[in-house]
Subunit: 368 residues, 2 copies
């Protein structure tokens, strides 16, 4: 894996860089759209190329349960299975096994749980999770981690950090692939000393990149941003830093400001399902009556294919009529909005005007 | 409107031609994908250009009820509303008001009915239907007709023909648009003498084109084909002939053979919703277990973008996972299959080999 820092912002910790490994050829900071079940909901790879996405995220937990990693391996790997030629990062399932599955039992050995699909019993260990991700053939694999809930007490969070370190060692030992790199995941909830301890444990294991896990799970913005700042003090500047599950526009700006290089988030696709679209002035709920005769595009300042061709009134009509095209059009726009925001952020960093861009964006964008 | 017959097949009644009016620039025979609610389900206009569609069908009944023709008029017409630059034909609602609405009461004046969406009461007359279609701005409008059910007795069918003629006169009188042409719809169920009478009545009114309505409603293939043959005896060769609601591959071939120039059908989109895809050997139900590890495209002989990139196994996975992309990919393929079949049919007619193509296609295609 090659990770080159191209430009450091003089006023904050923002930087641009270039990440190259396997199918990944990504300018950073980068937003990675989420394709949980081997599809970024409603979009084709062709759409995502057009949008400018360079890495997508997919999920070990979901693909292991359905259709199964061995079927995907027989299909020639996840890239070929879903017809995607650019980068894929797979999350380890650590988060999903805690948030989605039923009747889980965790021990140092691994996690026993029942599938959210059919109730079948499963047992995932760090070694098994490495084997699944190698079978899937992702370009970037993630360590199996324990994500403590929010809120939780110090002792609970401390134990999750210990187990995450133990599992990270076992992941590193079990991972053997010349075509896939492995990232560690820092846990520690909102306790700074646990975050620092977790990061130090992982640094000793020397991963290709470091992720900040367990955020955007209910904590306040202050707690999230505070944790990112703490991480900035210890994570090495020569490795990519990935803030997991975070993708609200204001959080992308804040993350970049504090040195984050990679983000992923289900929000653009999930919001689309609820008829909600990003604009430079905040989110709008297109299904609302006020847009019935609004013949402007979703975001008048957006240059995406959807905003070039379709009005709020038309998309609202599709929503009211129960037409899937609504979901597709809003998803396309929302994913474009975030991918393009990152592009503008990178340009601002290169131009030495990132903090101006940051303030200008946030002065217009109504957070809701 | 310009309709030019280019080539007549020497062995049957098939012909190629060119239809030009408004946004329509279509080679005939042509298959028109159905976009009932101002969208060909799951597809964008860009997809349809890529597929090669030149005319789509939309529905007066649906658009009148939602979002309303006046909103579409304020949006600049249906083309602009849905961002479609090629031809649009709108069905008159005659068929839908009988098949979809509740509590209808029909008289010579018009049809009183309740909306299938919210139960609201409405009254449609031939004059109102003309106004709606002019407001929508379709390139080709259809007369308001009465479509008798199948089966029905002779007297019922005779009365529907009489009313259809009466309404066709009123439609012709009420229709005034320099940018829209009007087609008549022949009724008469499966009674040859009524079909001939209906056609003669409409010919006296001199429409730009003639449609055969009230078929594909439950009658046998023999009755459908028999009716098409009867129509071929009386419909003028210098006007386009449109077989409404028919689109099974075998019916397209049979229709072309007997001189039909235009077809529409919801089957390619509806079948996609049920996980069923066209192939040269018949339809396959991709959701079935037998395709779980079938890494071939939907139709190995198809050249569409979906068959170039995605396997049956992947699309089955999407269906099982409840992913909308499945619906989108199969719809794209199914619409391409029929649009491309018509292209091959036109080429065969031009090459003087249509009947060879007809027999070759049907020898492979398993009808189910």
């Amino acid at each position: 894996m090659i990770f080159t820092v191209e430009k450091n912002d003089p006023l904050c910790r923002a930087r641009t860089g270039f990440l190259q490994t396997g199918h990944v050829n990504a300018e950073t900071p980068v937003f990675m759209p989420v394709g949980t079940q081997a599809t970024v909901k409603t979009l084709t790879p062709e759409d995502l190329y057009q949008i400018g996405a360079t890495i997508i995220l997919s999920n070990t937990y979901h693909l292991y349960l359905r259709p199964g990693e061995s079927l995907i391996a027989r299909a020639g790997g996840l890239h070929r299975f879903m017809n995607w030629e650019r980068g894929i990062l797979t999350d380890s399932g650590g988060f999903q096994v805690f948030s989605l599955s039923a009747m889980r039992k965790i021990s140092d050995e691994g996690v026993e749980f029942r599938s959210h699909i059919d109730g079948s019993a499963h047992f995932l260990t760090p070694e098994k999770v490495m084997q699944i991700q190698m079978d899937l053939g992702a370009d970037i694999a993630m360590c199996f981690d324990e994500c403590a809930p929010y809120p939780c007490d110090y002792e609970e969070a401390r134990q999750a950090v210990e187990r995450t370190t133990l599992w990270a060692k076992r992941c590193r030992d079990a991972h053997h692939s010349s075509r896939q790199v492995l990232f560690g995941i820092v846990q520690g909830n909102v306790f700074p000393e646990l975050r620092l301890k977790s990061a130090q444990d992982l640094l000793d294991l020397d991963f290709a990149g470091y992720a900040i896990g367990g955020l955007s799970v209910g904590e306040s913005k202050e707690e999230m941003y505070g944790t990112i700042k703490v991480m900035d003090r210890v994570l090495p500047r020569d490795r990519p830093r990935y803030l997991m599950g975070v993708g609200a526009p204001e959080d992308l700006l804040e993350g970049v400001r504090h040195g984050i290089d990679m983000f992923d988030c289900v929000l653009p696709t999930r919001l689309a399902r609820h008829g909600s679209a990003y604009t430079r002035r905040g989110r709008i709920t297109v299904r609302n009556r006020e847009y019935a005769e609004d013949f402007r595009p979703l975001d008048p300042q957006c240059g995406c294919a959807v905003c070039k061709g379709f009005s709020r009134a038309y998309i609202r009509h599709l929503i009211k009529a129960g037409e899937m095209l609504a979901h597709r059009l809003i998803t396309y726009h929302n994913v474009y909005f975030l991918v393009n925001l990152m592009k503008e952020i990178r340009q601002a960093i290169r131009d030495g005007s990132f903090m101006d861009f940051y303030h200008q964006f946030l002065s217009l964008y109504r957070i809701n």
